[in-house]
Symmetry: none
Subunit: 209 residues, 4 copies
Amino acid sequence: MMNSKIPVESRKREKYMAIIDAALEAFAEYGYHNCQVAKIARQAGIADGTIYLYFANKEDLLVSVFREKMIEFISQLKVLLEDYDDVMEKLSVLVHFHFNHLEKNPSLANFLQIQLRQSDNYIRSGIADPLKQYYQIIEELVDEAKRQGYFNAAINTKVAREVIFGSMDEIVSCWVFNNRKYSLSKNAADVLTILRNGLTAEKSLNDKA
Amino acid sequence: MMNSKIPVESRKREKYMAIIDAALEAFAEYGYHNCQVAKIARQAGIADGTIYLYFANKEDLLVSVFREKMIEFISQLKVLLEDYDDVMEKLSVLVHFHFNHLEKNPSLANFLQIQLRQSDNYIRSGIADPLKQYYQIIEELVDEAKRQGYFNAAINTKVAREVIFGSMDEIVSCWVFNNRKYSLSKNAADVLTILRNGLTAEKSLNDKA
Amino acid sequence: MMNSKIPVESRKREKYMAIIDAALEAFAEYGYHNCQVAKIARQAGIADGTIYLYFANKEDLLVSVFREKMIEFISQLKVLLEDYDDVMEKLSVLVHFHFNHLEKNPSLANFLQIQLRQSDNYIRSGIADPLKQYYQIIEELVDEAKRQGYFNAAINTKVAREVIFGSMDEIVSCWVFNNRKYSLSKNAADVLTILRNGLTAEKSLNDKA
Amino acid sequence: MMNSKIPVESRKREKYMAIIDAALEAFAEYGYHNCQVAKIARQAGIADGTIYLYFANKEDLLVSVFREKMIEFISQLKVLLEDYDDVMEKLSVLVHFHFNHLEKNPSLANFLQIQLRQSDNYIRSGIADPLKQYYQIIEELVDEAKRQGYFNAAINTKVAREVIFGSMDEIVSCWVFNNRKYSLSKNAADVLTILRNGLTAEKSLNDKA
DNA sequence: GATGAATGAGGATTCATTCAT
DNA sequence: TATGAATGAATCCTCATTCAT
């Protein structure tokens, strides 16, 4: 039922993406619940009804914005990572890219950290699937680091990913909630230091807790 | 305008808390937007209108649930922390308590990780204030660890707090989204290892990024 | 059902009238629909529920305010009229009293011209009865003037009363709607001139209409 | 905010007027406060929501009914008055038209004398403006009669208008409150006699009051 | 009599979605 | 394809009234 139609044909694709972009801006400006479909249509310069030729409903539109922007994010990230062999460098690239990308796209940052979470179906596949791809990239990176002896093999990969993603996500959220008053990317170095040390192999201490 | 009435008088306080508890269960069961005020009233065994003798509106009720449960959480945490002198032990206690508390209160976990974030006013003081108290506890702990030489003094305290809270928060979110299929607290050891190592002083490596 | 209890016993009567007066002020200040029973109770310095020991419901209270104030108005008017024998002087006294009384009681003026008419039951006996007494005084005066040859006997008494009352009522309404910016009683002379001439016997002209 | 949309385009105008007419009937039948928007919609044969495409809210609808019917009333009156040169004849035409028009439109009569006055905003411009136009017609007529020597120049024009309008208004109100049991227009002759005599120049008597 | 906490019926309004054009 | 007028379901909140104390 959801997301019945993802166009591939170029002319349709073009308008589809135009609506996605209009929705991103409108959601970020008004907030998901205060952003009527009519506002998105006006932002996109089309009629209200036209949106339903491309999206099943308002929530499908929300999820589609996420999916498309996530696809873009991930493909750009993958291209960047290809240039690096060292897994620790890859981690650095990932963190920097995460922060840089959202710093350059304030509407996307607002959308991801706030609007997206207002959906009743945050959990549902529409959002879970694209997110899992990002999770997977991080987990593959962790596993590689483990194999290469950089990271402590005893650390559960999923937990490591949760720490990495959770740290970045919280940092971005605080930055958005503080109205992006400071530079987001300046946090990258500190986060990386913590994550690298936290996950590094030789430092596996005895856990007293 | 919001939250005009927080009762102290014991008889009113009692019913106030009864509504808070009913709302927590109802929100967790139906989801914030799908949970009519009538459902909360029925759960509390009172009339719809009675809720408005204690809360300004539905959103005030949401925020109040958060505030009251957060006050409870923080006061319990503080009592626990008092028994420990060692700052690293305190960190361990905090992480374990965060996980244990939510594992023991599934409705609260669902509420905090999902329902609460559906509010249009996640940012507003109602939620920000109690959250800041928790942030502060973590940051004081980080500062103490820095002073005692456990943690790397070069790490920004706010970033450290964001990593600590963000890690725990993400772990709880994933656990909730996976329908609490596994034990949440079993993650504590891994997280603690990562956080301790990540923040420990002597391991401050050269940042290549 | 309506107006089940009009107290005569002096102690009850006292509080009854206190509520009447409080209601008059509250209705005039907030407007009938925007004036909650709780506001009237606070104005009277009693509990909400107490009002229902003296009045059947909010509308009964509205009607009772009218009835009591109308009784007062009429009894004062009757006393005044007793001092005059000449029917034309009586008419003058009536018009002047109508204007003076409302000019001296702004809340009553607001109540009579605006709030009272917001009731769904403006017509019902509660309001019709006291009003009819005033109508009767005017009509008796008209009839007397007819008998004494002052007024044109061909003019229907009821129409004459409607013109007299309607003229005064409209003048008061305009004055209230204009926030009582000018002196109401200064209109008395003009109105009287018009009414006297309009109704006077020897001037019965040929009606061309 | 109020009355954001008065359509001119003919197709919209048509439905706009259809809703106005349905509302007039529904208000007159059920009374303003007892007439749900759904009843008006059903009467108009449209969906509830459609009403809000044409009117800002229920009260805007009430005011709009008044405005449109008043515009109609005034334009018809003006056309009629054009045929007469004699100012006294004009007065006669006005009074007869006032009565005839409401006698032919019982719902309008009920609406104007009862429902309209139940609005909290009887005073507000929505109602005041159209009413002032009628006031102005009457006042211009009075001034003309004064200039031509028919009416007593000493009488304040506004007071004269208040007497004329107030007399007619009271007569219509009594007729409506008496369930239109008798012919309204039969009153016209008496009223006219009173008004003409009352305002006629040579009869300015000495005011004893 | 007096209180005031509790009740619960009732309705205007929004806005995502449809479909005739 | 595109339009945008029309739809109608769905609900929070108010406040007159009650009644246990």
